[in-house]
């Protein structure tokens, strides 16, 4: 009998790796606090295993940034549990993501799911991808869908648009949707909580838990 007891979705900018900002940067520390709070919520469900899901770009399949940031945040939170890492190719089609999520839900043991995912990176003139007017509505739609546990809408996210907006979390969120939809069919109940949502550097960083 598999159980995904709870899930947390946190962004994965390199900024969250220890020391990478040089001196402390207030905006980054606020984000980090929210991420650690989300991991604390995840730990509160008393899992005995963390399944860590993150997108992997084509050139980084060995050690994707998303999984490195995830492992680092787990360490920063002091959470000492076995970690099973699942790298999903950033360009994986929705169907592949859903199936991967369903497999996570079939895992034996008490699973805490940590999903590494960012929204668009085109939210301002200084954003990494410059300003794209489609970014804000895209991020609003996907964030509301996540908080509404509308897994079907997450499964239908426009892959092409997400790629154009540099929304690197699309595939990982679709894995999470597959896993939590399966969990709900098996009788789990997930209460969504938003710990943080902002774009201090033009990238959309939602920090959410489902527990």
């Amino acid at each position: 009998m598999s159980r995904v007891l709870a899930a947390a979705s946190v962004p994965n900018p390199p900024l969250l790796l220890p020391g990478l900002t040089g001196g402390p940067v207030a905006e980054v520390e606020a984000l980090r606090s929210a991420c650690l709070a989300a991991i604390e919520t995840l730990a509160g469900a008393e899992p005995d295993l963390i399944v860590l899901v993150g997108g992997a770009g084509s050139g980084e399949l060995d050690s994707p940034l998303s999984l490195r940031v995830g492992r680092s945040l787990l360490a920063q939170a002091g959470l000492e549990l076995p970690i099973e890492a699942v790298g999903i190719p950033a360009d994986a089609p929705a169907e592949e993501c859903r199936i991967t999520g369903e497999r996570v839900a079939e895992h034996r043991g008490r699973v805490g799911l940590l999903v590494m995912a960012d929204g668009s990176a085109c939210r301002s003139l200084k954003a990494p991808g410059y300003l794209d007017e489609r970014a804000a509505p895209f991020d609003a739609m996907l964030t509301e869908a996540l908080l509404a546990r509308d897994w079907a809408s997450i499964g239908r996210l426009d892959q092409q648009l997400a790629a154009e907006l540099l929304a690197s979390g699309r595939a990982a969120w679709q894995v999470m949707a597959g896993a939590l939809a399966t969990g709900e069919l098996a009788g789990e109940e997930y209460t969504p909580t938003c710990h943080y949502r902002d774009d201090p550097f033009g990238v959309w960083y939602p920090v959410l838990t489902f527990s």
């Binding site: 900018p13 390199p14 900024l15 020391g19 990478l20 900002t21 040089g22 001196g23 940067v25 905006e27 980054v28 990176a121 990494p128 201090p200 550097f201 033009g202 990238v203």
Partner: protein
């Protein structure tokens, strides 16, 4: 090696600022701006806020001019040293003097460091440093008398002369009891040197660093910078700062400066390039 100044121990790679505080009516750069006691107190507060670790209090201008005897030099410096000591218990207080009589009085007043800019002209100065466990700067001045200008000085090899004299002074000081960890050497830019000499001393500063003694440089707004760029006194800041960066990169530890805030930025930049200090805020490309 560790450099001990006052209550502080600084490790290799530390980049320290010695801020100039003149209690003189006639020094070349500030032209008497901090001759008054209150003005000098304000200057100390300002340079501490700007990040100086050391203040260097001077009662006699370096260039020739009105005679200032030991009594007058003591009057200008000792009470002020005591006032700074009282207001800033942790601040490293240096006094720029070549006279042992003055050195003894300022050490009694709380000075931590004797900046002997005239190259050991008074051999008893080092004895005072030993007596009070004070630090000492051993400077190259080419053997000239205090407050004289260089006139047709030549060296077979200026850096060989600098190292020979400064290391000789440092070893002598250590031999008579000055703590080795409290001794620095200074090439003495402009002192007993023409502009060619000072440029060569800067170019080859790493040879001084290689002796193992911590190196102090006193570059601020000096004539070799003015001549190199052919600019008047009030246009030497960029030349001073670029020279500061070159010296820091080669391993100098202490920088005697008028312009503390600007010097701090230069040294922070050098430390970040060297990799010993991180940037204060790195987010570019990492969001």
């Amino acid at each position: 090696m560790t450099l001990n100044l006052g209550r502080h121990a600084y490790s290799d790679g530390a980049l320290l600022i010695m801020a100039i505080v003149n209690r003189t009516p006639d020094s070349f750069y500030d032209r008497g701006a901090t001759y008054g006691f209150d003005q000098a107190v304000d200057r100390v507060a300002e340079v501490v806020a700007q990040g100086a670790e050391i203040v260097d209090i001077g009662g006699v201008k370096a260039a020739p001019g009105d005679e200032v005897d030991a009594v007058e030099e003591i009057r200008r410096t000792v009470d002020f040293v005591a006032a700074v000591r009282s207001a800033y218990p942790d601040l490293v207080i240096s006094v720029d003097t070549w006279r042992h009589e003055v050195a003894r009085e300022v050490c009694r007043g709380g000075a931590d460091l004797l900046n002997d800019a005239w190259g050991g002209h008074d051999p008893r100065l080092a004895e005072v440093a030993a007596e009070f466990d004070a630090a000492l700067v051993c400077t190259h001045a080419g053997g000239v008398a205090p407050r004289t200008r260089p006139h047709r000085i030549s060296y077979p090899d200026v850096m060989v002369d600098i190292i020979s004299r400064t290391v000789g002074l440092a070893e002598r000081a250590a031999a008579i009891g000055v703590d080795r960890s409290r001794i620095m050497i200074d090439p003495g830019h402009d002192f007993g040197k023409n502009t060619w000499h000072s440029l060569e001393a800067t170019r080859r500063l790493s040879e001084m660093v290689d002796t193992g003694w911590p190196v102090l440089v006193s570059l601020s707004n000096k004539d070799f910078i003015g001549e190199t760029l052919d600019v008047p006194l009030d246009e030497r800041l960029l030349g001073t700062l670029s020279t500061t960066a070159v010296c820091a990169w080669q391993g100098a530890s202490v920088f005697r400066a008028h312009n503390v805030a600007e010097t701090r930025q230069v040294l922070d930049m050098v430390a970040a390039i060297r990799g010993t200090n991180p940037p204060r805020r790195a987010v570019r490309g990492l969001a």
